[in-house]
Amino acid sequence: MSLPRDYSTSLTTRFSYYVLAVATLLAVGIAESDQRYILLGVSMVLLGVFLRGFVEISLSNLSRLNIDHYVKGFLEGDEILVSFIFNNRSIIPILFAEVLVDHTKHLKRVSNSRFLVNLLPKSALEIRVVFIGRVGTHRIGPVKIVLRDPLGLYRTQEIVLYKEFYVRIYPKTTYTILRRIYSYARSIGLSRSREAGEGVEFRSVRDYRPGDDMRRIVWKIYARTGRLVVKEMEKESSLKILYLIIASEDMFKGVYGSTPYEQIARVISAVSRYVASRSDLQTMLMLIPSGLSEIHRFARGHKSHMNILKILSSINYEAIFVSSSPPHSGEISRETIGSRIDLLIKKITDLISREKTLIMIFTDPIASSVEEFHKLISFLRGGGHKVIILIPLRSLYDIGSLKDLPALLYRIKILDETRREEELIRRFRSMGISTVALRPEQMIQSIVAEIETFRY
């Protein structure tokens, strides 16, 4: 690692007090003609010079430091362990070094990120920083170091030792949720297409018609009634789902791990896994303040699920909150959807063909102006596609930061806002658009039910 040339050592305010003490000793020695004070003063001067040399030598040794990192963990809610290995290959120790691991402020850290490091010659040291995972791509680093002498008279500038890197955290699809989806789908018979056709699921019996496959004749019924009947199977249904996220920065606000986006990511992750297991086609398009992310075509199976997870985990909170910074973040976000509605229409047109597609739009009240959406929905419904809009009631996502009485008081205070959001949802519904209000405690079952009702 080569350091920039202009890194230098500065004096601290302690140094000025130190100089004052030295000056006083020398002055007393001169005034009192006492050599002891003078000797002490001179010794302190020499000590100051030595300590300066100490810091400079350590600074020059930094370029020989070898640093590496590794990351353990990749799911939201889990502990993400980031380790840095410092390898001092020289014979010069690096002592009293303050090391700081910088990171995005949108990731919650549960351990220290600042360390006092003493690196002995020809030795290695590991420091660990632990985070609680959150869906998205998060910046870890840079790793900075400040060198000081033991008395704190000198201090280097903050030196970047290791550049930043990014950690990708995926939404978690717990088995509990998956089991619920599967069991719910089976309990209400939603896993069947209920259409006659080639398949493996038994649907019903009917009279034999010429041309029917002889292997499907139910001989038991013939033996009993003398009537030729055949088994009719259920048609294998192939679903096409497009997950469309159109979000302002409000989607990313809320209690850690419980923002509307994170909830949506979990939902989409679970649903896409369910859909992948059924070999249905699915893809995703995401328009957020920091830009547009897309998968260019529909896919089946595990690959489609992984592609969707990659898109979901690609969001960068720092980019989102920078790109929609004050003063009028709402207006910017509205501008995002408003000015890009034509772009969205074009992208969707490129993705979907005339085959009917279930389009699930996840959006928030700020990004979704009713009039602007109407244009999009009209286009989509005009193509024969089914559209469902899922809107999180953002006022409810902050409650998690409060408990008991304060939580109840908050609910009271924002009740009007919640009603406004619900009114918006009613307006969508009055326009004939299937709209679901998402709450923090939203059950995935209801979403799954929507998917399955679409099948018919």
């Binding site: 500065s10 305010t13 100089v19 020398l26 009192e32 949108h106 220290n112 201090r155 009740l415």
Partner: protein, 566 residues
């Protein structure tokens, strides 16, 4: 001293301590070295040195020579003369004051060896130059005697009327012979005749001597350039203060003049009423001078590879003569002599000897008014300035004065701590004046903070800085009403609400009280009756009480509903 919190935001001034410190250290070392050397040795020349710009110097002659021959050099030390190979060299010596040592002569010889022809122009009334003449093998010598003009010259009318040339006394001896008495100093300078190639020049000499030839039978070529007719030749010892020449006005001994060295006495005659001093002239007939004719004062001698032109009077080349009306005559003689030695070549190297002259300390010069008159004032000022500015003159005094001051100050009881403080501050300021010190700080860790939709409201609620209004009570009522309706199928207006709540663990009594409370204040909040509008209600307290009771109910409901679901 500046203080900053973030060094990165401010440019750090680079301190050139090393270079400044080095310069200061070198300066102090140089100062000490100069002090150790002692005061400057400043000397003034008052004789015929070419470095003397006064009346009695030959600086004008040197400069004139340089205009004739650009290769002219001053020689301050014969061991440090650097001359390349040359064809023609002339050494000019005018009235040296200190003798030539063997070292000088051998160094001179080394210099001359580099040149093919070596010539000398010597003008000296003393015997000092004889050493040089002997070294080069010349037969010419200067006797050192002083030439005194015969009185005959001074008895014509013009001289008798001139105060500077008038005899001191005109007296008669017993035989009634007239004697003219002149002081030996500053009088009776002889008139010499110089025969140059084209013409003759008459020039009055100053204190002049005569030239003799050691071996007249030598076949070397020599030529008399200048001579004096009928002149007295006196020893130096015969001349001086209180010494006079008494001479007759006409020649007495075989056509030669006679003069006597006379001493003047002053005898005091005491008369009854006064004291009168009369001069009495004592003429000593033992000390007789007989004039000689055709005494050589300038001779040219050809030694083969060397030529010598010798003048027995260096005074004619002094600045006072060159600055007088005799300037042109003297320079003509000088040019003639140089030309005879250098030839027409402009490349002739002329070495002007400046090494054999006495110097005087400026301090001593001041003490001797007679010397002071001879030295130009600008030289005196320059020398005194050099003395004054030298550190040995003022530095020890300053240090001593400062030392005394500090000691006196330290004797005062209140000064000691004050001095210590001032010294400390001064030292600190000097060291830190150009330094920039920064406040040390630890690097700040990044902390996570929830970004909430209604952050301001949540902060207010957390800090307890909120005000609850009637509207908030209405919201509370409607919220709990909706919740109860959706979960229990009964709302706050239902009569069987207490019974239903009791199933979920809420006591009937509490439920009834709660229902009454909520409905009562709801009506008041809506203002259905006039009295409700007139009666003031502390809604903040009411809302809080209602919320607390609602919370209790919700907790029981949550507990029991969860139990049911599980």
């Amino acid at each position: 001293m500046k203080r900053r919190d973030d060094p990165g935001r401010y440019r750090v001034r680079k301190i050139k301590l090393v270079s400044i410190g080095l310069i200061i250290a070198l300066f102090l070392i140089a100062l000490l070295a100069v002090l150790e050397q002692g005061p400057p040795n400043t000397y003034l020349y008052i004789g015929a040195s070419p470095l003397n710009t006064g009346r009695l110097g030959t600086s004008d002659l040197f400069l004139y020579t340089k205009t004739l021959y650009p290769g002219t050099q001053l020689v301050l030390d014969w061991s440090r003369v650097f001359v390349d190979r040359c064809s023609n060299i002339v050494i000019v010596i005018i009235s040296p004051e200190t003798p030539y040592t063997d070292n000088d002569l051998s160094n001179m010889e080394k210099v001359l060896r580099k040149c093919s022809t070596k010539n000398f122009l010597i003008a000296d009334e003393s015997t000092i130059s004889n050493a040089v003449l002997a070294k080069i093998g010349s037969d010419l010598r200067i006797t050192g005697e002083i030439l005194v003009e015969t009185v005959d010259q001074y008895t014509n009318t013009s001289f008798l009327n001139n105060s500077s040339t008038r005899p001191l006394v005109i007296t008669r001896d017993t035989q009634n012979k007239i004697f003219y008495v002149y002081p030996t100093i500053d009088a009776l300078y002889p008139i010499a005749k110089f025969d140059l190639e084209n013409r003759s020049i008459k020039l009055r000499l100053d204190i002049a001597s005569r030239i003799i030839t050691l071996n007249s039978s030598n076949l070397r070529k020599s030529e008399i350039i200048g001579y004096v007719n009928e002149i007295f030749i006196a020893n130096k010892t015969d001349l001086g203060e209180n010494k006079y020449i008494a001479s007759t006005s006409s020649s007495e001994m075989n056509g030669h003049y006679i003069a006597y060295i006379a001493t003047l006495y002053t005898q005091t005659i005491t008369q009854p009423s006064s004291i009168v001093a009369t001069p009495i002239l004592m003429i000593s007939r033992d000390n007789i001078l007989i004039s000689q004719s055709n005494v050589s004062i300038a001779i040219y001698e050809d030694l083969g590879n060397s030529k010598v032109i010798l003048f027995s009077d260096g005074s004619i080349f002094l600045n006072q003569v060159l600055r007088s009306s005799y300037n042109s005559l003297v320079l003509e003689i000088y040019r003639y002599a140089l030309n005879k030695l250098c030839g027409s070549s402009i490349d002739c190297i002329v070495l002007f000897d400046a090494s054999k002259y006495n110097t005087i300390d400026p301090y001593n010069a001041i003490k001797q008014p007679s010397s002071l008159r001879l030295i130009p004032m600008d030289q005196i000022i320059a020398f005194f300035l050099a003395k004054l500015l030298h550190p040995t003159t003022w530095l020890p005094l300053v240090v001593s004065w400062f030392n005394e001051l500090v000691i006196d100050l330290l004797r005062l009881s209140f000064m000691r701590p004050l001095i210590i403080i001032l010294l400390s501050l001064l030292f600190s300021l000097i060291w830190l004046r150009r330094e920039t010190a920064y406040r040390d700080y630890v690097m700040e860790e990044v902390s996570y903070r929830d970004i909430l939709h209604f952050e301001e409201l949540i902060n207010q609620i957390r800090k307890g800085k909120y005000i609850l209004h009637k509207k908030d009570f209405i919201n509370l009522y409607e919220y709990i009403n909706e919740t109860l309706r959706s979960y229990l199928g009964a709302d706050l207006q239902s009569n069987n609400l207490p019974r239903i709540l009791s199933v979920y663990g809420v006591s009937r009594e509490f439920s009834e009280k709660y229902q009454r409370f909520m409905n009562k204040y709801y009506e008041r909040a809506l203002g259905k009756k006039l009295i409700h509008k007139l009666t003031p209600v502390l809604w903040s307290r009411v809302v809080r009480r209602g919320a607390e009771r609602t919370l209790k109910i919700l907790r029981e409901l949550e507990k029991n509903l969860r139990r049911d679901l599980v």
